[in-house]
Symmetry: C2
Subunit: 329 residues, 2 copies
């Protein structure tokens, strides 16, 4: 591996001159520059980015931290963040937080291998975030409320989402409404559930405990929970799935039993994943404004990076996506 030292030597100039030449500094003469560039070419010289970062004390890259880098659900988010990063002249990398404390994500956060981060990974606990964030190392958190300097939250109003979804069912004449939840410790799941409860209470409806099941936010969980409901004999008139993944599983369970949606049971989801539009019937759901959320998060990060002050918390509102899985009673 040739270093800049080798290049300088071969070109017969000082180290600094080589550095200037290679970085396009205007104070080096065209002739010298040519010599240096030629030497670099000959040696197949490649700058060591790490050394540069160390010297500059900045990496010019930000990290997007996700539990699982690959969820289709993140697509929009990644795009919008990337767009903003590029337009600010920054690079973006994605890291996974799988593995918790020894995950890549935590390493990048703790060891400051990037200049800032956007986090959407519920398996990273508050403590890690609070410790990592500091002056000059802003973190934008997208999945929780958290109160600490150098940390800002960009949230989607899940309580409202849960309320709107449930309200939509009620307005369509449904009274016996089941809720399939995510993991018990999920902040998102709790909010949606609260919204559900609020709408139910407001309409004077009672939640039935046999119709509150856990599906862990995964397809398989939605499937099992739905099976359970079917086996109980009495079907609710509508089911609110805490996310679309579980709804997909639920739809499958109903199909297998020959129970038709929305004729025999109405279904509503949450997230508006890509699949939802293509299910049959297409899934009525709640869309989170992921593009806006990502864009906002990224903008805030760069504002913090440039020293500007921003609020502690931003809350975006959801959008109802009406399709064909809910029947008017």
């Amino acid at each position: 591996m040739a270093t800049i030292k080798d290049v300088a030597k071969l070109a017969g100039v000082a180290l600094s001159t080589a550095s200037y030449a290679l970085n396009g500094d205007s104070k080096v003469s065209a002739k010298t520059r040519a010599k240096v560039v030629e030497a670099a070419r000959q040696l197949n010289y490649r700058k060591n980015g790490i050394a540069m970062d160390l010297k500059r004390s900045q990496t010019n890259t930000i990290a997007l931290i996700l539990t699982d880098m690959s969820g289709p659900y993140y697509s929009e988010l990644i795009h919008s963040v990337q767009e903003v990063a590029i337009s600010n002249g920054y690079d973006l990398i994605a890291c996974s937080s799988m593995g918790g404390r020894d995950s890549t994500a935590v390493k990048f956060l703790r060891e400051k291998r990037v200049d800032g981060a956007i986090v959407l990974a519920s398996n990273i606990n508050n403590e890690v975030l609070i410790e990592a964030a500091e002056q000059g190392f802003p973190i934008i958190v997208m999945d929780r409320e958290i109160n600490s300097d150098f940390l800002v939250s960009v949230l989607v109003d899940g309580e409202q989402g849960g309320y709107v979804a449930t309200r939509y069912l009620i307005d369509h004449g449904h009274k016996r409404i089941a809720y399939i939840s995510g993991p018990a410790n999920s902040y998102d799941s709790q909010l949606r559930y609260q919204g559900y409860l609020r709408a139910m209470a407001e309409a004077g409806l009672e939640e039935q405990s046999k119709w509150r099941l856990n599906g862990n936010f995964v397809r398989e969980g939605g499937y099992s929970a739905t099976k359970m409901i079917i086996m109980q004999g009495e079907l609710p008139s509508a089911i609110f799935y805490g996310n679309d993944e579980m709804a997909v599983g639920g739809v499958k369970a109903f199909q297998e039993q020959g129970i038709s949606i929305p004729e025999q049971v109405s279904v509503i989801g949450f997230d508006d994943i890509q699949l939802s539009e293509y299910l049959s019937p297409s899934l009525t759901t709640i869309r989170q404004p992921m593009h806006e959320a990502g864009s906002l998060a990224a903008h805030l990060l760069f504002q913090r990076l440039s020293g500007a002050d921003v609020n502690r918390e931003y809350k975006l509102t959801i959008e109802m996506i009406e399709r064909n899985s809910v029947r008017q009673l």
Copy 2:
């Protein structure tokens, strides 16, 4: 930002002792270690990973480079690579190659910000890869054949895939078969097309130029190409879409015109994206063994990293996924 120097000073020990203590070296006494750890805690000391990487001349992380970090299609790949990375004690980051020469991906490759990379990004040209790869910096390429030291290819046999897909249609009695291609410069598209041609020729069938359209591998392209075919009046009996995304667009175009699949026209795709199973009718397609491919690529990378020799090229075979979009004539 406290550095190790500050920690050493506060603990009243030498720099090196602090380093040893913090890294759990056995030669420092329990008492000294306690002092150091306490000082670090007080100062909220965080090791600077970049400095460490520079000193060690290695980062312990590998990069997975994708054109677009978010394609649902990559999900399996990412998982399998991550699994192998973790089991080798390495970290994984994903970078996008959007932006070509000034993309994050190229920067990470050229400036050796990682120890090695797996590349699946057709917008990065050979030259960049050849220049970047060298002794101690292995690159595994998943989307092309490329001949250079320090570069190894892991490929899925696209020609065979195209052949199998087309052959499947022919075996089901189809003779008038259209092919919707990806971008003209796409290596994958070309291979699939060649496989198509081989199967056609073998069966003594002629390709009709009016039924060879470009859909650029995107949904919208599949939609337009299909519209075009419909407008031409005479429908082929089957269409082979170069990938599932285009097939999804095509199915939509047919639905809009009230043309039913597979009764009036059969459809086959390529890739087996998540959606395919949920389309109605569910899409018959060709699955690429992405899990195996990712796993193999990662294993090879670590083998190269540890100095072992591996072959220049590995080729995996595809799998036929029979569903309901092709009719037996």
